[in-house]
Amino acid sequence: MSAPIRLSTPLTSEAVSQLHAGDEVLLSGTIYTARDAAHKRIVEALEKGQEPPFPIEGAAIFYVGPSPAPPGRVIGAAGPTTSYRMDTYAPTLLALGLKAMIGKGKRGPEVKAAMVENQAVYLAAIGGAGALMAGAIDEAEVIAFPELGPEAVRRLVVKDMPLFVVNDVHGEDLYIKGAEAYGRA
């Protein structure tokens, strides 16, 4: 396995098109959190012609609902949630220039096609490693929908967040490639 690729936000089509399924990435910069309820609200707002809570163009969205921050910490455990539940909303955001989605678990065909069409990637964080992931987060601030609690939209500043490229702009899928490599009929 080659050395991890360092990536910083905001992301460009050019930067993400260099990535290939199977690459390990260390992501730094500002990213935004949103999961089920926040996605529903963001897409509904966009449909009404309202502004989203953060600029979608060049953004990376992390599908996470962190646990509460104990005193002296910026955030609690913060691993990824399962991504397919956001599939309904993802193509709309990809069309507006969203460049990376961070989660775990496979994506549907429409999302994969929208990634190729709009030059965006899907990155997997290790599910269930919430305490470890918290160590890559330097700042966290709720910027929208505070009433949603763990599902509120947060602005995070991350440093060297460890991720794997699952779906790239070339239509490759690490989940399919990986299982093919190690499966035995």
Binding site: E24, A124, F164, A179, A181
Partner: protein, 299 residues
């Protein structure tokens, strides 16, 4: 014949001395649940830790070994920082084996358990993940818990707290097969369920399979089998054989740690076989993520 109504004659109730009943205050149940909620979410059980070490040894994929090493690191960080292992601190599933010689005093058992969950999730900074099914409004304190109470001989109260994450629960299945599909049909259902789940339930998973009983009993038996330690030897040889075959077939899927490809898709399969109706063959497959949190105490 006339059906008698009204109070049951005292003579039917017996007049045995009840002094062998042991009184347990429900507040002790609350205190225990508070402690177990925190410990379960923060401290990876020793059996799961051991299974991770064994998986690192056997894993052929370099990426897979890297993922498993990070899971071990995550468990250490959680232990040191007292952050939960996973941000999904689960729905609190609580099993109680209540000795029939115990007299619970001082309140309602189920409310005592919910109070334990309420305090435990707040005190240990755990995520509250329970909401209304339609409005999705969060109940704010991770209650209500899912509680299963079983009466058993003796004068002890055995409590297990099993925080159950949503990602793996969503990939679980109950199916009512036709008896003609038989053992092969059960195996096919289990392997297909794990394959369809892929990376979603955070592999390497624990797969709990309950066959037989009714629609509801199969599901509860599959959940209950998750209380077993991963190194537990199934005393039913027929079930143990099924476990071994399923583990092999599941690991041959190649899904691997975090679903990124590898030889460790499941750490363990549990199988529970029960008799069923002549018309039925129920099978429940409960998938548990690698953060297989379970803590227990005896009062």
């Amino acid at each position: 014949m006339l059906i008698q109504t009204g109070p049951i004659p005292v003579s039917y109730c017996g007049s045995k001395d009840l002094s062998n009943l042991r009184e347990v205050p429900v507040s002790a149940v609350t205190d225990t649940v508070v402690r177990l909620c925190g410990e379960a979410n923060i401290e990876l059980p020793a059996d799961v830790h051991q299974a991770f070490y064994q998986a690192v040894e056997s894993e052929e994929s370099g990426v897979g070994r890297g993922v498993l090493a990070r899971l071990l690191e995550n468990a250490d960080i959680a232990q040191q920082t007292r952050l939960p292992i996973c941000q999904d601190c689960g729905l609190a599933v609580v099993f109680v084996d209540l000795g029939q010689d115990v007299h619970l005093v001082g309140g309602d058992l189920e409310e005592a358990i919910n109070e334990g969950v309420r305090q435990g999730y707040e005190k240990a900074f755990l995520r509250k993940s329970v909401c209304h099914p339609f409005t999705r409004a969060n109940t704010g304190d991770n209650t209500p818990a899912v509680v299963y109470v079983r009466l058993v001989p003796g004068d002890k109260v055995h409590i297990w707290v099993v925080p159950k994450g949503g990602g793996s629960e969503n990939m679980s299945q109950v199916k009512l097969l036709t008896p003609a599909l038989g053992r092969d049909g059960v195996k096919k259902t289990v392997v297909e369920t794990v394959q369809a789940a892929g990376a979603n339930p955070c592999p390497p998973v624990i797969v709990s399979v309950a066959v037989g009983g009714t629609f509801d009993q199969a599901a509860v038996n599959a959940k209950r089998a998750l209380l077993n330690h991963l190194d537990w030897q199934n005393p039913d040889p027929e079930a143990a054989e099924l476990e071994a075959e399923l583990l092999q077939e599941i690991n041959d899927l190649g899904i691997g740690p975090a679903g990124l490809g590898g030889r460790n898709t499941a750490l363990r399969v549990f199988a529970d076989l029960k008799p069923c109706h002549i018309a039925s063959l129920p099978v429940a497959v409960n998938i548990q993520c690698h953060a297989a949190r379970h803590k227990e105490a005896v009062l």
